[in-house]
């Protein structure tokens, strides 16, 4: 029976319903318009928002006003005054409180029916089963590492059939947004279908650091003086204390020492604002770019789930400082991606032992960088395990790996785990007969 209270009447959702109940020609594949779609969004769908900061606040609002009801949000930070120019769910009196908690409260209070659950903590501390429950995960993160982590989580949920094709029912969609000043991006990651974060890691060049000898011997710019105080002087004079960017006294210490160094060398331009920027690696941020990127992400999540329109394929970059310019690119998967493909291929002679296979992986240009002390399993069978089962599984190392696998398949899908990895890796082992 239709709910006719003003807060949940069809009158309320009249705009969204046009999108979800009317058929069209420019829609997603398999679109089935009807009231069941909004019912699904509001009842069965669970969406996770990673981050309750600049992007997260916007994402939560956009989700709640796009028909989503069951929304979880996770963030490990507390609110700071410098958040208030864009993280609009927070007020001055909230400073010091957990972002996820306050954000959830505010959305629930403002949007009738919204059911936002807060998790004040780190994404690394949630078990895999937690992430498995969600229909889609939207990322409002500000670091490469966190993105890589969430990417590996989503991709680890992907299963493949014997031919190495992804099992569509195990795809955990991610929508990832990022901003920096007037620039931003929104992308859709369907593990196994579109490139994952790891496939396109080359999009993010490594951050350059100042050479130590410049800091120590030939400073030339204010930033050199600041990093000298932060990295060199601190470890010389206060090595017993861990430097804390949130500690006002630590920052002031770095600032005054940077000033002294600059004065000594005749370099102008050290300010407290610059000191903060350099030491904390502050990314300038404004409400407008966050609003654009977040809404674009939530729109993609909505389209993904309902097929109400064509989806972004698969990466949109936005830049708004000189006019307005967007560029949409369909990046391609890396077929050898260690995180989202059916497995990086390792070829070995037919009589190779398990130990030799492990050595090959460690020597592999891509795999080697990701592994230190790997454990190897084949399906549900542990071939070699680190930790408490190490002794029991050690004899397998000397055996020809062919004996440990089933049948005479030319290729076997191995799962590799390692402390260095955030989620397991797939390796496709191919054994070659001598004449091949």
């Amino acid at each position: 029976m239709e709910d006719t209270t003003p807060t949940n009447s069809s009158e309320r959702w009249i705009d969204i319903d046009k999108l979800l109940t009317r058929n069209g020609n420019l829609v997603g594949p398999g679109f089935e318009p009807g009231p069941e779609l909004r019912d699904f969004l509001q009842q069965d769908c669970k969406v996770l928002c990673i981050g309750a900061g600049g992007l997260g606040c916007e994402i939560l609002k956009d989700l709640a006003l796009s028909g989503f009801v069951n929304i979880d949000v996770i963030d490990m930070d507390t609110i700071d005054v410098s958040n208030l120019n864009r993280q609009f769910l927070f007020r001055l009196q909230d400073v010091g409180k957990p972002k996820a908690v306050v954000a959830a409260e505010r959305i629930n209070a403002r949007v009738p029916g919204a059911n936002v659950t807060a998790h004040f903590g780190r994404i690394e501390d949630m078990p895999l089963q937690f992430y498995q429950e969600f229909t889609v995960i939207v990322l409002g993160l500000d670091s490469l590492e966190a993105r890589r982590y969430m990417n590996s989580i989503a991709c680890s949920l992907l299963e493949f059939d014997e031919e190495g094709n992804p099992d569509m029912s195990t795809i955990k969609p991610l929508v990832d947004g990022g901003t920096e000043g007037f620039k931003g991006h929104a992308r859709v990651i369907l593990p196994g279908v579109t490139p994952c974060f790891e496939c396109t890691l080359w999009l993010f060049p490594p951050q350059t650091k100042f050479p130590l000898c410049t800091l120590a011997e030939t400073p030339r710019t204010p930033a050199h003086c600041i990093e000298y105080a932060h990295l060199i002087l601190w470890s010389q004079q206060r090595s017993h204390e861990e430097f804390d960017t949130d500690d006002e006294e630590h920052m002031q210490w770095v600032y005054s020492n940077a000033l002294a160094r600059a004065k000594q060398y005749g370099i102008e331009g050290v300010t407290f604002q610059l000191t903060q920027g350099v030491v904390k690696n502050i990314i300038p941020a404004i409400a407008s770019t966050n609003a654009i990127v977040s809404a674009a992400c939530v729109l993609e999540a909505l389209k993904l789930i309902t097929m109400c329109s064509t989806g972004l394929n698969n990466y949109m970059m936005y830049t708004g400082s000189q006019g307005i310019y967007t560029h949409t690119v369909a990046y391609e998967r890396d077929p050898q991606c260690p995180v989202c493909s059916a497995g990086v291929e390792v070829v070995a002679p037919a009589d190779t032992t398990l130990q030799q296979v492990i050595d090959l992986m460690l020597a592999h240009p891509q795999l080697g960088k990701m592994l230190a002390h790997p454990s190897v399993s084949y399906g549900s069978k542990q071939l070699y395990a680190r930790g408490i089962y190490e002794e029991d599984s050690r004899p397998n190392l000397a055996k020809p790996v062919r004996e440990l696998l089933e049948g005479d398949e030319p290729a076997a899908l191995l799962t590799v785990n390692d402390k260095k990895l955030s989620a397991s890796l797939r390796v496709r082992l191919r054994l070659k007969e001598p004449q091949q």
């Binding site: 959702w13 609002k61 956009d62 403002r110 604002q273 674009a296 006019g323 307005i324």
Partner: protein, 548 residues
């Protein structure tokens, strides 16, 4: 770390810290003096204003005649369920003020149409009017009014899965456009005497190992140029530059030949300054050029026909023009900045000083021209502060001017021919057809609404029947615009009917972000605002700008 006891000034600068790093204290000041009028506070307007309130504008006034209805609870964050039936303008005003108590807000419970009819002078108190969800016919009147009163206008619309935005003001000038990338202004192809003298003071053969590997690459490149010219023969002119691939290769060889590979102790030397010099070798043969946008500005009649009413910007352009024609030798003033480069502190600072001194000399020359121009104008007491001239000269290659057609010029059928052809072309080209269709159809929808009293597809029962009617309106419009060779696509006609003028929160939020960003550029006078008609396509996640 909590800081609830901090004083107000401290909290204010902390609050705006992340954005002050983008537009500086001066930009922030301009923003904090801005008075904004918002017409209609459905989500498109509310989201736009929310982003500006967070940024710290001085004040806003919302004009909206509606009451809060259930539909608002489905798409607008700036209303609350407890105040169903209240004035929407009032509710949005209250909730926005909660977001930033440094901003003043007020409202007028009136439709914009009524207000503008009864009290057009209402617009005079504002720096910027943001008109949202208004049909073309009303916008034409509004634009005329804004132009007459010298008020900037920003038009924003969300319509189903598309959005539209357009700014309208006679002219917008920018000194600090802050482009994303810039080429360092090193002038190695035309060094001034003091720079050359400094470079030649280095005897590469005689200096010790430490100095040799710390000579800044600017010096190395100048020395290499000298040596390369010498290798070509005694008649080589002192301004000869490596002109082709072969010469450039030879030049790089000369540079490599200047390296030391072993220290006095016999151990190999890593000379990073030479590595940098090689990477930056193009500076030795690439002449500084004036960006085309700046050349156009220099030639603008406004910089030549000076009058007492001429704004400072154009006087500065006039002075700049005189500099370029005389002391500048065809070039803009030296920007004075050098990038960081491998060098000892002292050598770097010496070089930096040289560049700053020459930049200052150029500023003084421009000031001289400015004084002469002001004198000729006969405006006693009119002056431009030295700091202003310096700021202008430092940014000479970044100055930009944006001009905007009136909405009438875009929409009227007079002189449609040129625009008609470009619209027809945009409709037929693969890369632009989708968004050109949306542009055309949005305008056709307004026509439809004017004829039928409702938007196409407004009700489920009319979605199908409205399709041929909307198509008809679109074709008629094409004819009026002189673009009858253009074709509108049936799929897009059908989609526009399907969307039934829905105002989706996510689309309103994208538009609200872009509109706030543009408003900020217009108010801070930094960065470059877009000009033309922007179409946001939420289906494909693309934007296009049409200059029509």
């Amino acid at each position: 770390m909590s800081d609830q006891s901090g004083n107000a000034v401290d909290n204010k600068s902390k609050r705006y810290d992340r954005q002050i790093r983008i537009w500086g204290a001066e930009g922030q000041q301009r923003l904090e003096h801005a008075r904004i009028a918002l017409l209609n506070c459905s989500p498109t307007g509310s989201e736009t204003l929310k982003n500006l309130v967070l940024g710290g504008i001085a004040s806003f006034t919302i004009v909206d005649g509606n009451k809060v209805q259930p539909r608002d609870l489905g798409n607008n964050f700036l209303v609350d369920a407890a105040r169903l039936g209240h004035s929407r303008a009032q509710v949005v005003t209250d909730l926005l003020k909660e977001m930033n108590d440094l901003v003043s807000g007020s409202y007028v419970e009136d439709t914009p149409e009524e207000l503008l009819q009864n009290n057009p002078s209402f617009l005079e108190g504002f720096d910027l009017v943001i008109a949202t969800q208004m049909p073309e016919q009303q916008l034409l009147q509004l634009d005329e009014l804004c132009r007459a009163k010298g008020v900037k206008l920003l038009v924003v619309r969300s319509y189903g899965l598309m959005g539209y935005m357009r700014a309208s003001l006679p002219e917008h000038v920018v000194i600090e456009s802050k482009p994303d990338s810039k080429v360092d202004d090193l002038r190695l192809t035309c060094p001034w005497p003091a720079l050359l003298e400094y470079a030649y003071s280095f005897d590469l053969a005689a200096v010790d190992k430490h100095v040799h590997m710390h000579i800044p690459y600017v010096v190395l490149l100048l020395l290499a140029l000298h040596e390369w010219r010498a290798s070509l023969g005694p008649d080589t002119t002192p301004d000869r530059l490596p002109g082709n691939a072969a010469e450039r290769g030879a030049f790089k060889q000369v540079l490599q030949g200047m390296r030391r590979y072993q220290g006095e102790d016999g151990l190999p030397l890593e000379e990073e300054n030479f590595d940098e010099a090689l990477k930056s070798a193009f500076h030795a043969w690439t002449r500084p050029s004036t960006p085309s946008e700046v050349r156009v500005i220099l030639e603008d009649p406004k910089a030549q026909n000076l009058e007492p009413s001429t704004p400072d910007f154009w006087l500065l352009v006039a002075a700049l023009r005189k500099f370029v024609a005389s002391e500048g030798g065809g070039r803009l003033p030296l920007d004075g900045n050098i990038p960081d480069m491998h060098a000892t502190t002292d050598l770097y600072l010496q070089l930096q000083r040289l560049y700053r001194q020459q930049a200052d000399a150029d500023v003084a020359a421009v000031e001289g021209h400015l004084a002469a121009l002001l004198g000729a104008l006969g405006s006693p007491g009119r002056a431009i502060a030295s700091s202003g001239v310096r700021h202008f000269c430092r940014n000479a290659r970044n100055i930009r001017v944006v001009r905007y057609r009136t909405l009438a010029e875009e929409c009227s059928s007079d002189a449609a021919a040129a625009r008609g052809a470009s619209l027809a072309a945009a409709l037929s080209e693969e890369g632009s057809t989708a968004n050109a269709n949306l542009y055309l159809l949005l305008r056709a929808c307004d026509r439809f609404a004017a004829t039928h009293g409702r938007y196409p597809g407004a009700h489920d029962s009319t979605v199908e029947d409205d399709v041929p009617l909307l198509k008809q309106a679109a074709q008629q419009l094409l004819g009026e615009l002189g673009a009858s060779s253009g074709q509108v696509q049936d799929d897009y006609v059908a989609e526009m009917c399907r969307l039934g003028a829905a105002e989706l929160h996510v689309v309103a939020s994208v538009m609200g972000g872009m509109a706030a960003q543009e408003a900020i550029k217009l108010l801070t006078q930094q960065f470059v605002p877009f000009s033309g008609s922007l179409i946001y396509n939420a289906m494909a996640s693309t934007t296009s700008i049409f200059a029509l």
